[in-house]
Each structure stands twice: as C-alpha cells, then as structure tokens.
C-alpha cells in the first residue's frame, strides 16, 4: 500500500484558508471591501434595470419579504438557522486547515437519513424529531467522512472530493425518491407518484413556538445559535480546540507535540459534514420546506452556508449576523421573484456581494506577495525567470 500522505497537507485548501484567516486585515483590505461592496450594489442595480425591473421597487420587495412584518422576519429567521449550522460546520474544519466545499451534498444526505428514519420509525412524539435530527447529522457526517477516508488512504484532494461527492449525493437522493425505497405512495385518481417521499409525520416536525399563526419560529434557530456559540467557545478555549487550531496552522508542529494530525483532520471534516447534515434535518422538519424528501430539498442551503462561512472568514460568531444577512436575501428574494423579477438575479447579487467580501483579503495577500511588501520570508524564493538570447 502506498504511504498515506500525512505529511502533505491539503495544499490548495490550506492556501485559500490561510488568506482568509482573520486578523490580517489592514486598511487596504477594509477600504477595498467597501469599494467592492459599492461596486457590487451598483452592478446589481444596473442588472435589475437592464432586465426591466426597478432597483428601488426590488429593494422594497426584498424588505417586504424579509423584514417588514412578522411573516417576513420569521421566514428570514427560519432561513437563517440552517445557513448558520452549515457555516459553523465549515468553520470547524477550516480551523483544522481542511476546506470542505461539499456541504450541499452533505445537507441532502442529512435529509435522506432524516427522512428515512422519520418515515420508518414509529416513535412517540418529541422523541421522533430528536431521532430525525440525529440521523440527519450522522448521515451528513458519514458522507463527509468518505472524503476524509479518500484523502487519508489515497491522497484525494479534499476540496475536489467534497465538491464531486455533492453531485453524487444529488443522484443518490433522486434515485432514492424514484424507487419504492422512499418514493411517495401514488396519490389521487391519476395514480401517479412524483419523485419525492411521503410527507413526514407531524411528530417528526419541529413545532412552532407558541400559538401564533403568522409566527412559525421553532427550536432550529436556537439550536443553530447554541451551536455557533458552543463551537466558538470549544475552538478557542478547549484542549481539543487548541489541537484543532494547531493542526490548521502548522500540522508538522502539531504532530511533533503528539497530535494525531491525520485522524483529527479527518474527524473535523466529518464533524463539519454532520453540521451540514443537521441543517438538512432542520430543513426537512421546518416550515421552509414541503417537509418531504426531494432532490431539491437542500435548495442551495449548503452553498449559501459555505458562502456565509467565507464572508465570516470562518468565525462562528461573525457567522451569526452574516447568516442573517443571507437569510434576508433568501426570504426577500423569494418575495421578489413573486413580483416577476427572475430569482437568478438574487443569486447574482449574492454572488457579487460574496466576491466583494472574499476577494479583498486574497487580492491584498497576492499584491503583498508580488511587491515584496512583507518582511523577507525565510522560505526560498521561486526560481528567477530569465529571458536570454540563446546562449553560447
């Protein structure tokens, strides 16, 4: 067997994560961010105008859909919870220097496990919803663990494998809901069954808090907030978190001090998958989805959650407001598309904003590297390119 690549950390992921590490911002990064956000908003307004919509009307539609009334902001908060869970998971493995970008698939697999358990197990009342959530977390964790194992034993790049596993997950769920395995029972006179599961029983769903018809807040939000605060504390204050950070910042020194680098790195990847899977379970049991398994269940929550983590630069506490901002765009975007503006425009706006936040630290890092503005590094410089007439 080929030696496991324990000494070759996941290079691509590590390099990106190193640039995104918080605490390296100078005034240049900050001002560049402000400029780019302004540019992103300007381009967004331009795009809206070009498609015939009015930017101000669109803005007010987003406001109405997300924050203006009780229905709006409960929708926003319901959207924020799974995003935050995904982002917190991403932050864990990023701390260990592993870049997981497969949350979308891990969310789906979480949904698959959750739906299977929710539809097959007859457990009394609140027990069932807890078991559904746990199963979803296990599902997402196992899915990510496959990528960890591929890296451990065959050296497959984690960034690549987690990404590709997402497409596999979509296929797997599509397959599951198209076969007797999970497909819904035929309905109505036509006798046609769609590619989706039966709806989950009421016991498997998260009930609203209190008896307010327009306010459907549920425990999911609190779960996500507790997770964010808890993970932030564990990473900064616990022995385990200390080891995780060491592995992320310098795996060789970590190994020297006795940390099982490969095992810990793999475990954090699985853990981040578990958080994404939990988000999938939350989607399944929450009023933001049709409460049944479909290939579209994840609805970009995995991708958006990853973007939340990127914008928050992998800080769980910062991810709280950022996930809220993304949820505003999601909830408001749904409302906006109801007014006739294509939904993909919202995606474009989101993408532009993410670029505006993520590009500056990377750009400044590259610029510094080029101009040699950082003090000389101890590492050897790359070979000097020389342009010479043919010698001799």
């Amino acid at each position: 067997m080929r030696a496991a690549p324990t000494m070759a950390p996941d290079d691509l992921g590590r390099r990106v994560l190193a640039h995104l590490r918080p605490g390296r911002d100078g005034w240049l990064t900050t001002s560049l961010t402000i400029v780019l956000v302004a540019v992103a908003l300007g381009v967004s307004a331009l795009l809206l105008t070009l498609t015939g919509a009015s930017p101000s009307a669109s803005l007010s539609a987003i406001w109405t859909g997300s924050l203006a009334n009780t229905t709006g902001w409960t929708t926003t908060l319901l959207n924020a919870a799974p995003l935050l869970l995904v982002a917190v998971g991403a932050a864990i493995c990023a701390s260990a220097g592993t870049f997981n970008i497969g949350q979308e698939g891990q969310v789906l697999i979480g949904g698959l496990f959750g739906a299977w358990v929710g539809l097959r197990l007859a457990l009394p009342g609140p027990m069932l919803v807890v078991v559904v959530m746990a199963a979803a977390a296990v599902g997402g964790g196992l899915w990510a663990a496959l990528s960890a194992l591929m890296y451990r034993f065959r050296g497959v790049n984690v960034v690549v494998s987690t990404l590709l596993m997402t497409f596999l997950a979509i296929q797997l769920v599509t397959f599951a809901v198209s076969t007797p395995w999970l497909q819904e029972s035929a309905q109505g006179s036509s006798g046609i069954a769609d590619a989706q599961s039966n709806p989950l029983p009421a016991d498997a769903l998260l009930g609203g808090l209190g008896q307010y018809p327009s306010m459907q807040l549920n425990a999911g939000l609190f779960l996500a907030l507790v997770a964010a605060v808890g993970v932030a504390l564990v990473l900064s204050r616990s022995r385990w978190g200390f080891r995780v950070r060491m592995v992320g910042l310098n795996p060789l020194t970590a190994k020297h001090t006795g940390v099982r680098v490969a095992a810990l790195g793999g475990f954090t990847l699985a853990l981040s998958g578990a958080f994404a899977g939990l988000a999938g379970g939350l989607l399944l049991a929450s009023p933001v989805s049709p409460n049944r398994l479909q290939a579209g269940l994840s609805d970009n929550v995995g991708w958006d959650g990853l973007l939340v983590a990127l914008v928050a630069r992998n800080r769980p506490l910062i991810a709280i407001p950022v996930s809220f901002g993304f949820a505003v765009l999601r909830a408001g975007g749904d409302f906006l598309s109801a007014t006739g503006v294509p939904y993909y425009l919202v995606d474009i706006v989101k993408a532009l904003l993410v670029l505006a936040f993520v590009a500056p630290p990377l750009l400044v890092g590259l610029l510094r590297g080029r101009r040699g503005a950082t003090p000389p590094t101890p590492f050897p410089l790359p070979a000097v390119p020389t342009k010479m007439k043919a010698a001799v």
């Binding site: 020194t253 020389t386 043919a390």
Partner: protein
C-alpha cells in the same frame, strides 16, 4: 580607503535604500564591483545582503538610489531586465526541479524552441571551460548536493553573465568541493573579465577567496577594503560592530576556535549512562535509502556533534527524532527505554526535546501566541480535562520567558512577530521544559545573529552541565569543534566516522565528510 580602481566599474550601486514597512533593510548602500574581481559581501544574518541582491536582480524595487552597469544608469524593474544586463545569480537554496534531467533544468527559462543538442553542447562547453563536470542526461534528484550546485553554476554561466552572484554557495559543499568552486570562480574572473559577488557570513571563506570585501552591518556599509589588507579579526569586528574574542565568538563567526575551551569534558564521555541510543536507524523513502543504519549514542551531560555537509541525511534524522517520520528500521532508546515511534508524541513523552532545523516548519506555530507556543507540549499542566486554563498557561509561559530571556511585546503576541533569535528561544524553552533527558539541536544557529548564536551556545552548554545529553546536528565545523566533546560525521546518510574532539582536525573531519576513512 578605497583601493585604486579603473575608471568605470562593471557595477556600481549608489545610495540604495530599501525598506519593508518600518524595517530598513538597506540604508544608502554604495557598492562598487570591478570587472575581474571577486567581491566579497560579508554581513550577519539580517544585515541586508539578501535584500541588496534582490534589488540587483530586479526581484524587489529599490526605494531610492541608482544602479550603474558599465557606467550606464539602469532601471532594474524586473528579473528579465537584470538577466538581459548580464546579472546572474546562484541561489543559496537550489532552484532546480528534481524530476527533470540536468539539461532540461539548464534549458528552463530559455525562450524559443528547445534544442536538446544545442543545450547539451552548451553544457559541455561550459563544463570544459571551467572544469565543472556534469552529466546532462542525469536526473537532478540522483545528484549529490555538490553536483547540484555545479549544475546551478553551469546553468548560470551558460547564460554568459557579466556579473555572477553567489549566495552562501559553500553551505552545501565539503571543504574540497568549496576549494574547487573557488578555483572555478578564479578562472571566471581572471580569464574573462567577469565580476563575481560572493555573499557569505563566513569570515574564513571571504578572507580566502575574495579580492575586495564590503561589510554590511544593520543595512549600512560598515567597512570596505582590499581583502589582503585586512585580517579576519578586523573583518569580524566590522561585521559585529565590537571586539570579538577568537574562541567562542570566533566560532559563531565561522573561524576555527583557537583553543579548546571545553577542557575537562572529554573525560565525562560516559557511554554507560546513555540517554539517547540510536541503533541501526534506517529510513527508506521512495525506494531510496536516505538514512542508512545510523548508530549513535549520547551520554548524559555530554554534547555530541553530528557534523556533515547539508543534504546528507541530517534533515531526515531530525524529522525522525521530531516524531514526524517513522524509521523504516532500527530503534531509538531514550534514557534506556525503547520508544515506540509510531505513537504520536512518544519521543517527547520519553524525554526527548528537539530544536528542529527549520523552526517555522516544525518548531513553532507562527500564528499562535508566545504563551501557546511555550505550553503546547505540556497541555496537561495548563488545562483541566477539557478546558484550557488561561492563568496557568500564562504563568508557565511567563516563567519560561523569564528563564530564557525571551523578548516579546507580550505573551499573547504571535510568535511571528518575534525576531529569529527569540523564536528560537521559544522553541528551546519549550523543548527543555518538563523532564527532558536529551536535547537534539539541529542547525540551532542557522539564521541567527552573533549575539543570539552566543546565547544559544551558552544554553546548550548549560543544558549539558545540568545532565541533559545534547546531540548537536550542524553543518558548521567551527560550531561542532567549539561545543562538542565527541564528533560523529554523517555522509550520504551514513555515519562515516566518530572521534573525540581532541583528535579531531579540520582535515580529518573533511575526509570523513567526503566519505573516506580518516
């Protein structure tokens, strides 16, 4: 004090200043290099030598100052421009690609169609002219460090540079190889009127090989002279900025210690009380034996030097002892107990501390705080079952920082913000804390200034006096001769001989380094 010179020097730097943020690496540096001379550029680490050369190669832009090549002012905005002006450099660390053959490496960076025959002919011509035998068809990873250096020099000379810069070229060479290199450089300047700039921090080398010398200190030109008019002592004083003794400090500067300052410890060489015993240690990587059956014993309270030229297996031995690489065969005993090296951290738990060769690589976590770096190996003492205890962490770190004179703005400052010498002290403090029986110090003074080097020597001595066995892995002959009581020599991954320091001479060690019996 400038010697008589021809009217137009081949290279002249006037008032070169280069700052990185608040740090001024070069401060109004003037340098004048004549055609046909080997010009030594001497200075401690951080004196500004490398920054000056980066300016000269167009790798970084100078803040102020002018560069004249053959009397004409040039911009030097890019490496391409420097190359076109005929400025070539042999870097300290190899810039060769291992998987390619020699001729492919030499052709790298050429423009236009690659013609293998023409490249090989060029290599043969350069080889013959300067006496630098290389095989164009050999793969670079099969070559020894000395051969690789030769390829670098050939690669550079084939481009026909008028000004050839060599950055610490002898750090990977045996003494015999160094002599050969200097002979080649003599031919380059004497017969063809080129200029050579030889960068070094080793006094003996500068004194031997150069025609004129410029000494940099803290970014400024401290001294310039015709080499034959100076003495190593004078150069040493100019380099450090104060009087230096020729014992310990001389060793730190690359001069052989005049007298054995370590009398009395020769007899303490007690093999009965071995605290570190390596037996048949072998590492095979990618089918190549990089470490071959190494046997080595270090007794309590003694300093054993492992001397050899860079790239002869010291790095891999360091990795094994740091617990980063598992040996293919062989055993390691610490304080009489055989250590299961497959268990993470087993060596440190057994009482082995190591100052690794590259502290940024495996010694410190640059982005963690000084306190965290000082306590990362003793988490049991500074945390409960689950949570870290900040007060305990800081108290322990404070104690170590005081004991080892670590200069830091605060214990919460990242190690990245410390000077090299203080970073090295952080590593040393951490590795000596706890119940350390053996300390492995791999190239512990690389990249440090003289003050920090002396401090390191004193601390290694003190550790030995307190009964710790010290294994000093070093490429600096002077360092080993000044500190160790017993010297083993490593060559091509094998121990080629060992002898007490009283019997060691540079000549005998040189032969062992070359793999011959002495």
């Amino acid at each position: 004090m400038t010697p008589t010179t021809s009217a137009v020097p081949i290279l002249e730097l006037r008032g070169i200043t280069k700052s990185y943020g608040s740090v001024t690496a070069c401060d109004a540096v003037d340098l004048r290099v004549e055609a046909g001379e080997i010009h030594g550029l001497l200075g401690e680490n951080g004196a500004g030598k490398s920054s000056l050369m980066k300016v000269l190669l167009g790798l970084v832009r100078r803040d102020t100052g002018t560069v004249l090549v053959r009397g004409e002012e040039v911009a030097l905005d890019s490496p391409q421009e420097a190359a076109e002006l005929g400025i070539g450099m042999v870097h300290q660390h190899f810039s060769l690609i291992n998987g390619l053959t020699v001729w492919e490496n030499v052709a790298l960076g050429d423009t236009g169609k690659v013609n293998k025959q023409a490249v090989c002919d060029g290599i043969a011509e350069v080889s013959a002219r300067y006496g630098l035998p290389v095989d164009p068809e050999a793969r670079v990873d099969a070559l020894s460090a000395g051969e690789r250096q030769r390829v670098e020099v050939v690669k550079c000379l084939r481009r026909d540079p008028q000004i050839l810069i060599l950055d610490e070229p002898t750090s990977v060479l045996t003494q015999a190889e160094s002599q050969e290199l200097f002979a080649v450089l003599d031919r380059v300047v004497a017969n063809e009127g080129r200029a050579v700039i030889l960068i070094s921090h080793k006094l003996a080398e500068i004194a031997q090989a150069t025609d004129r010398v410029t000494v940099l200190r803290k970014g400024r030109v401290a001294f310039r002279a015709v080499t034959s008019d100076t003495t190593p002592q004078l150069l040493a004083r100019q380099m450090v900025g104060r009087e230096v003794s020729l014992g310990e400090e001389g060793a730190a500067l690359g001069l052989l210690p005049v007298q054995q300052t370590r009398a009395g410890h020769d007899g303490a060489h007690d093999r009965q009380q071995a605290v570190l015993r390596l037996a048949g240690l072998t590492v095979v990587q990618g089918g190549v034996e990089v470490l071959g059956s190494v046997d080595l014993t270090v007794g309590a309270g003694e300093i054993v030097g492992l001397y050899g030229v860079e790239g002869n297996g010291q790095s891999i031995l360091g990795d094994v002892l740091a617990g980063l690489v598992a040996p293919t065969e062989g055993t390691i005993e610490v304080a009489g107990n055989r250590v299961d090296v497959t268990r993470p951290g087993a060596l440190s738990k057994a009482g082995l501390g190591i100052v690794p060769e590259d502290r940024h690589h495996s010694g410190v976590v640059l982005d963690m705080s000084v306190a965290e770096n000082l306590t990362m190996k003793s988490l049991d003492e500074v945390s409960g079952r689950f949570l870290l205890r900040r007060r305990a962490t800081l108290a322990r770190a404070r104690r170590l920082a005081d004991e080892f004179n670590i200069v830091t703005p605060s214990l919460d400052a990242p190690v990245r913000s410390l000077s090299g010498g203080n970073q090295q002290r952080v590593v040393l403090a951490r590795e000596l804390s706890g119940d350390t029986r053996v300390l492995v110090a791999a190239q512990p003074t690389h990249g440090l200034d003289v003050g920090a080097i002396e401090d390191m020597y004193a601390r290694l001595r003190r550790a030995a006096d307190e009964g710790v066995g010290v294994l000093l892995i070093s490429t600096e002959l002077e360092e080993v001769m000044a500190l160790a009581s017993w010297i083993a020599v490593i060559s091509s991954g094998r121990i080629s001989g060992a002898l007490p320091v009283s019997e060691a001479t540079p000549e005998r060690l040189g032969m062992l380094v070359g793999g011959e019996a002495a």
